[in-house]
């Protein structure tokens, strides 16, 4: 079964065709990668799926429902969460608040509940805090809970982005270059983490990455974009030896 089905999606910026009628499916429970040269349209693809941009043409189905034209917060509410290539944390807020905010949709207290400090609100807040701490622990972020996000080292910030996305309880998690700025060792840990996330949270993971070790290691399927077009799709083995991909993206040394 596919959680995500993309049919003929295209996007232009001015005269620039960033995505050109892309078709793509993501199987439920899989870990799938999107790779491609810089400027190929990968991030744009994520932006279309999450509602940040509206596609010029085509259809995007998430869990069988069209998400084209939905606001990003609605898309998130349906169970689609993402991280950002250029980290976009709430820089002046604490780590805990960053994650709490991501639970916005899942908390249900209205303004009256809050003003009257109803029991429901109090319980909800307690549980939210509990869940946040659990998540932070899970990602090894608990030493930083009271730190403003902007003070964290780069790699930790990336992990916080993941924690934040998880807090929305997504079914499909989109990671945009999660390993950027991480050392090989951290990347290795990240690889494990993504696998465990998938299992522990019953997730489907779709990721963009330039670190081929991670990609080849983790993905079940890979799509390759180049100049907005899907030039190849397949298993890591197929992609690794795909001549077009080697030519446009991998280079010859990376293959060996």
């Amino acid at each position: 079964m596919n959680v995500l089905e993309v049919r003929g999606v295209g996007k232009q910026f001015g005269g620039l065709v960033a995505l050109d009628k892309v078709d793509f499916d993501v199987r439920k429970g899989s870990i799938t990668a999107v790779i491609g040269p810089n400027g190929a349209g990968k991030t744009t693809f994520f932006n279309l799926v999450t509602g940040v941009y509206r596609p010029d043409c085509g259809e995007i189905l998430f869990d069988g429902r069209s998400v084209v034209g939905l606001r990003p917060d609605r898309v998130t509410a349906l169970g689609l969460a993402r991280t950002f290539q250029n980290i976009r944390l709430f820089a002046d807020l604490s780590v805990v608040d960053n994650v709490l905010i991501a639970m916005h949709r899942r908390l249900t207290s209205g303004i009256l509940d809050i003003l009257l400090n109803r029991r429901k609100t109090r319980i909800e807040e307690r549980r939210a805090l509990g869940e946040v701490y659990g998540l932070l622990e899970y990602l090894g972020l608990e030493p930083w809970i009271n730190e403003p996000a902007k003070n964290l080292p780069y790699g930790i910030q990336r992990r916080l982005e993941i924690a934040r996305a998880l807090a929305t309880r997504p079914k499909l998690l989109l990671l945009d270059e999660p390993a950027a700025g991480m050392s090989p060792r951290e990347t290795r840990e990240l690889t494990d983490l993504i696998r465990r996330l998938r299992d522990d949270f019953d997730l489907t993971v779709l990721l963009i990455e330039h670190d081929m070790k991670l990609v080849m290691n983790i993905s079940e399927r890979i799509m390759v974009l180049d100049y907005g077009r899907a030039i190849a799709e397949g298993t890591p083995e197929e992609i690794r030896s795909h001549p077009k991909v080697i030519e446009a993206y991998l280079g010859h040394s990376a293959v060996s």
């Binding site: 608040d97 905010i101 899942r106 207290s109 869940e131 608990e142 522990d200």
Partner: protein
């Protein structure tokens, strides 16, 4: 829970000792105020005790009760012995009105990051709502002679003024939310001016606001047969309303709504990606801020007994903004301190200072050329103080602080949460899941954390 600062002996941080010192201070200053008869300094020092209280390490609850006792009993009692009693109460009342407005604007500017330069419009909406119906103004456009309404209905108009201002907050917000940043500033400024100009001109074709002439002889409120005539009546009224406002803002700030405001301030795109609806969040901020302002508008109209559009100029909006920023954006105590500072400066200290200089000049102790007569220097001094304050306290007098969580306590909550999921804690499960109902995530929670 206060962070320990270096340089003081440990005993300073013992809440009991602090309470004792504070009590002694309060007692001493109030006695001085009571016996000196009339002195701004003692009055201000007594008010300042609340600042020390805020910085003390007494528990929050105790701090609130303490503050209530000082403001509700000690301060008015100590001041009431002198001839300046009502003068103090007047200043304190105006201070209270501004505090509520600054706290309201702080929601919009400080929490949600929406620069609003037309905030006073909401204040005027509240004020006119009351003034029109509690003077004979309403007879001009409504048939029958039902107006002014009896003072007892004041209590109905408090929520009404709040509601109307809040409603306009939403109405303004709807179109305005398309524009961002400083564009928003100018649009709100335009809105503020539009409202003021309309009030200034709505004497024709139907006389609703009496235009530039203003509405006079506004009837004061009544409670249990007591008519509000003196500033100290309004002081208590404002005190009670302020308690409500603080409570509300305090609740909201640390709720999902307050967090959503801040998220929108920090990064709109990320906030949306985390499921925060942009428009609704901004609208609640506008509405909440506006309603506090509208509430105080009603009080203001009743207290002044007269209103006209000159009380609602753009300069007024800017003054409130100054209070918020001076105090520390996004900080509730900051907004309070900012409002107090600006009001006290404007209404008490600067007039007194210039009067004093003037008297010295009159007695020939110092001399000024007439062009530099000290009585005209209020604005100049105010401007100077603004510059000095910002340069020396660029983050505001009491900058916003992050709420700190105790890791131990959080770990405890996390345990409780896991148990709740395991079914030990059968209370409602309010953390609904988007889409389906299975509880996937909990599995993740129950495993061991990843090593950092």
């Amino acid at each position: 829970m206060k962070a320990i600062k270096r340089g003081f002996p440990r005993a300073w941080y013992n809440p009991w000792i602090q309470a004792l010192l504070l009590a002694a201070y309060t007692a001493g200053v109030s006695a001085a105020l009571a016996f000196s008869g009339q002195s701004v300094i003692w009055f201000l020092l007594l008010v300042a005790s609340l600042l020390f209280l805020y910085h003390s390490s007494l528990p929050r609850k105790v701090q609130w009760i303490w503050a209530a006792v000082v403001l509700g009993a000690i301060l008015p009692l100590a001041a009431s012995t002198g001839p300046a009693y009502e003068s103090y109460m007047e200043v304190a009342t105006q201070m209270g009105i501004y505090i509520a407005m600054a706290v309201g604007l702080n929601i919009v500017v400080g929490f949600a990051g929406l620069l609003d330069l037309g905030f006073v419009a909401f204040f005027s909406l509240g004020a006119y709502t009351y003034a029109i119906f509690f003077s004979d103004q309403a007879n001009q456009f409504l048939s029958g002679h039902h107006f002014p309404l009896p003072g007892g209905l004041f209590w109905l108009f408090l929520p009404l003024g709040m509601f109307i201002a809040g409603l306009f907050g939403v109405l303004l917000g709807l179109p305005v939310l398309r524009v961002k940043g400083d564009y928003l500033a100018i649009v709100t400024l335009g809105f503020g001016e539009i409202i003021r100009i309309i009030f200034n001109n709505l004497d024709k074709p139907v006389n609703i606001t009496n235009g530039a002439i203003g509405i006079s002889s506004v009837r004061p409120p009544e409670l249990f047969g007591v008519t509000f005539t003196f500033p100290h009546h309004y002081y208590y009224l404002v005190l009670v309303l302020l308690a409500g406002v603080f409570y509300a803002v305090h609740r909201l700030e640390h709720s999902r709504i307050g967090r959503a405001w801040k998220a929108v301030r920090e990064d709109e795109i990320a906030a949306q990606a985390m499921g925060v609806p942009l428009v609704r969040t901004k609208l609640t901020a506008f509405a909440a801020g506006a309603s506090f302002s509208g509430l105080m508008g009603v009080v203001f109209a009743a207290k002044q007994a007269f209103i006209d559009p000159t009380s609602f100029t753009m300069l007024e909006s800017i003054t409130i903004l100054v209070m918020v920023i001076l105090g520390g954006m996004g900080s509730l105590p900051g907004a309070v301190v900012g409002a107090c500072l600006v009001t006290v400066l404007n209404l008490q200290l600067l007039p007194q200072l210039t009067n004093w200089l003037n008297q010295l000049a009159a007695q020939g102790m110092i001399s000024f050329p007439p062009a530099l007569s000290p009585s005209k220097m209020q604005r100049f001094l105010f401007g100077m103080l603004l510059i000095l304050f910002t340069v020396f306290r660029p983050k505001g007098v009491l900058p916003a602080r992050l709420r700190r969580h105790d890791p131990g306590h959080m770990a405890e909550l996390a345990r409780e949460y896991r148990q709740g999921i395991a079914g030990v804690h059968p209370s409602i499960s309010p953390l609904a899941e988007p889409g389906s109902s299975s509880s996937r995530a909990e599995k993740g929670m129950q495993k061991e954390g990843m090593s950092p």
